[in-house]
Amino acid sequence: MTTRATDAAGPVPPTSERRRWLAVLAHAPRELLERHAAGMADDAFSRLRAPEVGMTLLRARIGNTGDRFNLGDATVTRCVVRHRGAGGRLAAGVGYVLGRDEARAEWVARLDALLQQPEHHADLMRDVIAPLEAAVAARRAQDAARAAASRVDFRTLAPEAAS
């Protein structure tokens, strides 16, 4: 998919930064996302691609080193919206989320479009992305802690198996 901010009306955030906030939005808990997205005015947005559900192929490597294999398919919902900002500057926002939650994909797309607008960028990074990033990190840490409790260390088994 190619969606690109146009012209030189303002500094366009670099791709790596956009990748970061899109990753945060894609993983953000639904209720937090809804809270942040609910306040947005509808009239500045128009849909370029209405939310649609599709499948994507998941590929993986065992231990991140083995050959690539097809893990399976996952449902993905995507959406693209256009935002008309101050001075008529246009930005296209994309939303890709796992699952079939169409509203969530549209919220992500809207926030992505707004984040590309210079007049909203700083505010949204501070008020939306930072707390969501913290929430995502906290949930990951919690999951990691729960998994760590059942960790098995195979090092002691290796010599026995070898002998």
Partner: protein, 216 residues
């Protein structure tokens, strides 16, 4: 904001891509089965292509947009002639279609009628006797399209499969030399070029099997 080609990234397509394309395909199928007969695109095909906000509207004429959104996908090399070239990003966004390379035969060629000249016609792929499906589909936005006896443009008389005796079609914007080229192409059947004429929200088709003569 002025209309720069880059803005075409921000134009809408079908409201509902599945139904829009299906309805347009039906209209195309009907048009191809009845050469020269006028077909109005159904509302489901037009939904989204005529938005209230003018700068969301597709960058190409309505019927041309509908036909291209329907026929193109990632495996269809397309060629957009003249001004239409600037709509390539928009088509790529909605269909995944890529522009044909300079030396590659394009499956679908779209052009405004002013761009249809000898060079364009000679460059069209005709397919081969073994693979006639490689022949190009030429989509032309004409200045007028009617079945009436009066009005602008040249009258063509069509005969052949799908036509009981003779079908008249009035087309504005295409020169007599184009129709002469098309007439000489007919004996090459099954090789040839399928023609889709579009004007506003209506279209007519002249498949390669149709014999064309200029009427009065």
């Amino acid at each position: 904001m002025t209309d720069s080609p880059a803005d075409y990234n921000f134009r809408a397509g079908f409201d509902d891509p599945v139904h829009g394309a299906q309805q347009t395909f039906r209209a195309l199928l009907a048009a191809m089965s009845h050469p020269g007969r006028l077909h109005e695109l159904p509302p489901a095909a037009l939904a989204g292509l005529q938005p209230e906000d003018p700068d969301l509207a597709p960058p190409l004429p309505t019927a041309v947009s509908a036909v291209l959104l329907t026929l193109l996908d990632g495996q269809t090399p397309a060629r957009l002639c003249g001004d239409y070239d600037s709509a390539a990003p928009w088509l790529r966004f909605h269909t995944g279609a890529r522009s044909a390379a300079a030396d590659e035969p394009a499956t679908v060629v779209a052009a405004p009628c002013a761009e249809v000249d000898e060079t364009l016609c000679e460059a069209l792929a005709l397919g081969s006797d073994e693979a006639p499906q490689d022949g190009a589909t030429l989509v032309v936005a004409v200045d007028g399209l009617s079945d009436g006896d009066s009005g602008e443009g040249l009258v063509v008389e069509l005969r052949g499969p799908g036509i009981e005796s003779m079908q008249r079609l009035r087309v504005a914007g295409l020169p007599a030399s184009f129709w002469a080229w098309r007439r000489e192409l007919r004996p090459a059947l099954p090789r040839g070029v399928d023609l889709v004429l579009a004007h506003g929200t209506r279209l007519a088709a002249i498949p390669r099997s149709t014999r064309v003569a200029l009427g009065s």
